[in-house]
Symmetry: C2
Subunit: 206 residues, 2 copies
C-alpha cells in the first residue's frame, strides 16, 4: 500500500505548507492581511485548492491560533521548573511578556482578534495549551498556599487570573499604544513585585 501512503504524505505536506505560508503572512502583515487569494498565490496553487485542505479561512485561522498558543505554552514551560514559587512567578511573567513582544502577531491572533477563538482555546479540553498554561501559573499560588506561605483563605485561581490579566494588559497595551514611558519589562517587574509585596513602604492614613 505504498502508493496511497505517499499520497497521504503529500497531502499532509501541502497542508503543512499552506499553514507555514499562512503563518508567515499573518506574522508579517497581520491577521486581516491573510486572504485566500494571496495565500493561494504564495503557495502556487489555485484558490480553490485551499478549500480541499481547509473548510474555509476561519479553519486556517483556528489552526494557527492553536499552534500559537502551543508556542506560548512552550515559552512558559522552562520557567515553570523554578522551585521557589515567587521566583517562578517572576520568571514566568517575564517569559510571557517576552513572548508577546517578540511574536506580536501570534499574540494578537491568540488574544486580540476573534473572541470565539480565544475563548475556545482557553477553556478547551484540560490538556489543551490554554488550560495547561493557566495551570502552570495557578500552581505558583497553590504551592504558596500548601506551604502555608499565604492565607488559607486565598484563592489561587483568582490570583492567577488577576496576574494573567495584568500581564496581558502590559503586552496588549504595548502592542496597541506606544505612549507608555515605562518599558514592558519594567512594568512586568513592578506588577509582580507590587502584587506580591504591596506598595513600597505603605503606611495607613493618619
Amino acid at each position: 500500500m505504498g502508493i496511497s501512503e505517499r499520497k497521504e504524505r503529500q497531502r499532509a505536506e501541502l497542508r503543512e505548507q499552506i499553514l507555514r505560508v499562512a503563518r508567515e503572512m499573518v506574522v508579517k502583515e497581520g491577521f486581516s492581511a491573510l486572504s485566500m487569494r494571496k495565500l493561494a498565490e504564495a503557495v502556487e496553487y489555485a484558490p480553490a485548492t485551499l478549500y480541499l485542505h481547509f473548510e474555509n479561512r476561519e479553519a486556517i485561522a483556528r489552526e494557527l491560533c492553536v499552534r500559537g498558543f502551543g508556542e506560548l505554552l512552550a515559552a512558559l514551560e522552562p520557567g515553570a521548573k523554578v522551585t521557589e514559587p515567587l521566583e517562578r512567578l517572576s520568571v514566568m511573567g517575564a517569559a510571557y511578556v517576552k513572548f508577546g513582544l517578540e511574536h506580536p502577531e501570534t499574540y494578537r491572533l491568540i488574544f486580540m482578534e476573534d473572541p470565539r477563538l480565544s475563548t475556545e482555546l482557553f477553556q478547551g479540553a484540560s490538556d489543551g495549551a490554554g488550560p495547561r498554561s493557566f495551570g502552570l501559573l495557578a500552581q505558583v499560588f497553590e504551592d504558596l498556599k500548601s506551604a502555608g506561605r499565604i492565607a488559607d483563605t486565598a484563592d489561587p485561581g483568582r490570583l492567577a487570573e488577576t496576574v494573567w490579566a495584568g500581564l496581558h494588559g502590559i503586552v496588549s497595551l504595548k502592542l496597541t499604544c506606544a505612549a507608555f514611558r515605562t518599558s514592558a519589562e519594567e512594568l512586568r517587574e513592578t506588577l509582580t513585585e507590587t502584587l506580591v509585596h504591596g506598595l513600597p513602604g505603605l503606611k495607613p492614613a493618619r
Copy 2:
C-alpha cells in the same frame, strides 16, 4: 449675515448627524462594520457627500475615538474627587472597568483597534483626554508620596502605568476571552487590593 450663519449651522448639524450615526454603527456592529457606503445610506445622503465633511474614513474614526476617550475621562472624573488616595484608586479603577464593559465598542475603538489612534490620544497635548485621565490616576500615587505614605523612592508615574495596564488587561481580556471564571469586578478588586497590600498573609520561604 443670517443666511451664511444658517448655512454654517446646517453644515455643522449634518456633520454631527454623520458622527452620531457612525457611532451608532460602531457601537452596534464594531468598527470594521463602519463603511462609507452604509454610513451614507444611513444618513440618507450619497457616499460622495460624506467626503465634503470628512477627509476620509479614518478622519471619522479619529473623531469618534477622541470623543470616546472624552467619555472615559468623564467616567473617571467623579471618582477623582475622593479624598483618601487608596479609596480613590479603588473607585476610579471600578469606574474604568465599568466603562470598558458597558461601552465595549467604544473601548475597543480607543484601545484595541488602531495603534496610531491609541498612541496619538494617549500622548497628545497635555490637555487632551488621554494625559488628563492618566494624570488623575497618577495623582493617587503622588498624593500618597507627598503624604509620606509610600517610600520616597517610589515612582508615581510608573505605578500609575502599572495599574492602568492591569485595568486594561482586565477589560480587554473580558472583551476578547470569555473563559475567565472570575468576574471583572472581582478581578479589579483583587488587582488593586493586592497591588496595595501584597499577597494576603505572605510569609518568606523558610
